[in-house]
Symmetry: C2
Subunit: 333 residues, 2 copies
């Protein structure tokens, strides 16, 4: 910057101001400075700027995995909301593991993000402490934590799945199976399974649970689980899955075996992936509005960070309403 200052015959301070759109610099002076900077191939060093101004321009986010269209959609929503505000997303992948999450949160906090977005409402004690101590806005997403760390943009995974069970019951299903949602990291999946179990019980329905192994859930595992189920003694008349990917795997297994869907077997998934809307038959699913979760989180943070409320007032809870999308795969007989 001082090189530019010399070349332009001004002080470094004026050069600094020339780069800020809202700073008061003579129009001609600014143009001259910017021109010289471009010619010199100068690239602003935000590292130094961040240190001095104590603002990193970062919003950090942890997500379980990128290889999941739902979380990718949330990130897209978040990113679009940040971009306009001149904020940069700093992403970390937890791989569905709260210990990884703790390490990641610590690592991300070292970069002094101005806000932190986490997926899910369950964390290690130390992770909670780190988030609380950071004195920056924190948003938990994709969940409705009992004891939120800060703000919340999410929904009850259990309630959403219960809604799906009701729909299947109303469509005539009596012997249900749930595929996925083991308690090995994916707390949202586990919550969905809980919601399934309690609603199935409440309605007096027969039900079975099939495990899938460690997340992320793949289509192939869904197919394998379905094969296991079909090779067993008692056959369900409807299968609910922790995600649409597993549900599609289930559908393909039915296709391979010549089982009619929904005639002989109803299938439902979760997440409203593109796949659910185009497969033959189309899959009944729950749309959790993944993009909106990101977009609303971004809007919330933009508002908090813009407003000069360093210690934000009351933590807000934005309830997302997951939508039941009924399709061919659960059409009543």
């Amino acid at each position: 910057m001082s090189d530019i200052a010399k070349a332009a015959g001004v002080s470094p301070m004026t050069v600094s101001r020339a780069f800020k759109a809202d700073a008061s610099v003579g129009k001609k002076t600014r143009e001259k400075i910017l021109k010289i900077a471009e010619e010199m191939g100068y690239v602003f060093d935000s590292t130094a700027s961040n240190l001095r101004s104590q603002k990193s321009g970062f919003v950090a986010a942890t997500i379980p995995s990128l290889n999941n269209a739902n979380f990718a959609d949330t990130v897209r929503g978040l990113n679009e909301a940040m971009r306009d505000k001149g904020l940069q997303l700093l992403l970390g992948y937890t791989d569905y593991n709260v210990e990884n999450e703790e390490r990641l949160i610590e690592q991300l906090l070292r970069r002094r993000p101005e806000a932190m977005v986490v997926t899910g409402g369950r964390h290690t004690d130390r992770a909670r402490r780190l988030l609380l101590n950071a004195s920056i806005p924190v948003v938990e997403t994709w969940d409705l934590p009992e004891d939120p760390v800060g703000h919340t943009v999410g929904f009850s995974n259990a309630d959403a799945m219960a809604q799906l069970v009701e729909h299947l019951h109303a469509s005539g299903a009596r012997r249900l199976a749930f595929i996925g949602g083991d308690d090995n990291g994916d707390t949202r999946g586990a919550d969905r399974r809980k919601g399934f179990v309690s609603k199935a019980r409440a309605l007096g329905l027969e039900y079975r649970l099939v495990s899938l192994g460690a997340p992320p859930v793949s289509m192939r595992e869904g197919a394998r689980a379905m094969a296991e189920l079909l090779d067993g003694d008692t056959q369900p008349d409807a299968v609910l899955c922790v995600s649409d990917l597993a549900a599609f795997g289930v559908l393909t297994e039915c296709q391979r075996r010549g089982i009619d869907v929904p005639g002989e077997m109803m299938i439902a998934g979760f997440g409203a992936f593109d796949l659910a809307e185009i497969s033959v038959p189309t899959l009944t699913t729950i749309d959790a509005h993944a993009y909106d979760i990101g977009a609303r989180t971004g809007a919330l943070l933009a508002e908090i960070l813009r407003g000069d409320s360093p210690q934000d007032g009351a933590p807000s809870i934005m309830r997302i309403r997951p939508t039941l999308k009924v399709s061919r795969s659960t059409a009543a007989k």
Copy 2:
């Protein structure tokens, strides 16, 4: 840090060293310092560290979109390779647009990344200049640029698609159609189309091209394009798609119309998405080894950044060999 120093009765410098695993500090001193730091809820400020040491610990990467399992896989491979080296990935999304890419590259360079990974080999002139001036290692991926900016980890999209055309020809297809690959941003898609056209010509095959609109390509658009094709005058006997997602959409359209695949219509995609391996029938595709592209890029950068070769020697070109995965959807009659 100076607070911790006071509490521990040492100098700030010793505290600083205590946080570096390889620095020489008395074992007891270090333990004491780390304990005090944890109690005080201190979190290391890498902003300041980065400025002073002129090392950001960032590797920046631009990708067209996260909502694409291929790029997500590449990022995963890259991220895993970085993580162990204490490097952080800084991601930007270009949305398949070189002007966006230019803006993004400039923005990312302000963070002073230690290396830069870009998707594709075509950039605006200014973007090229920025990358060249940055004097950091640059890697172009998913392509084989004619005039590389720096290192390359990729393959020829045209050649890969030509390979697929040969396979279809050998399987008995004579009237081909290619769906996707318009020249509106997705240069890799456009290259695939070029490869298709030149090989189809070379083999003396009839062919048609169907556009899809702006990327990213979705399953639905594949289905729509196929409907358009089927409603036309001349019918192909094989359809090649710019991606597996479009190919799956094509398959569903055939299913809806009762067209037998591969009996009446062969289908092939690109990318080796999970979907291709599980759909009924399974889809013939090209595996570009997306994860490996990321992993090898990461390994390359780790090596360069570890080695004290600030100005790296000869730019390396890592050719990835895309693999033809033949499946049911193109089984010979």
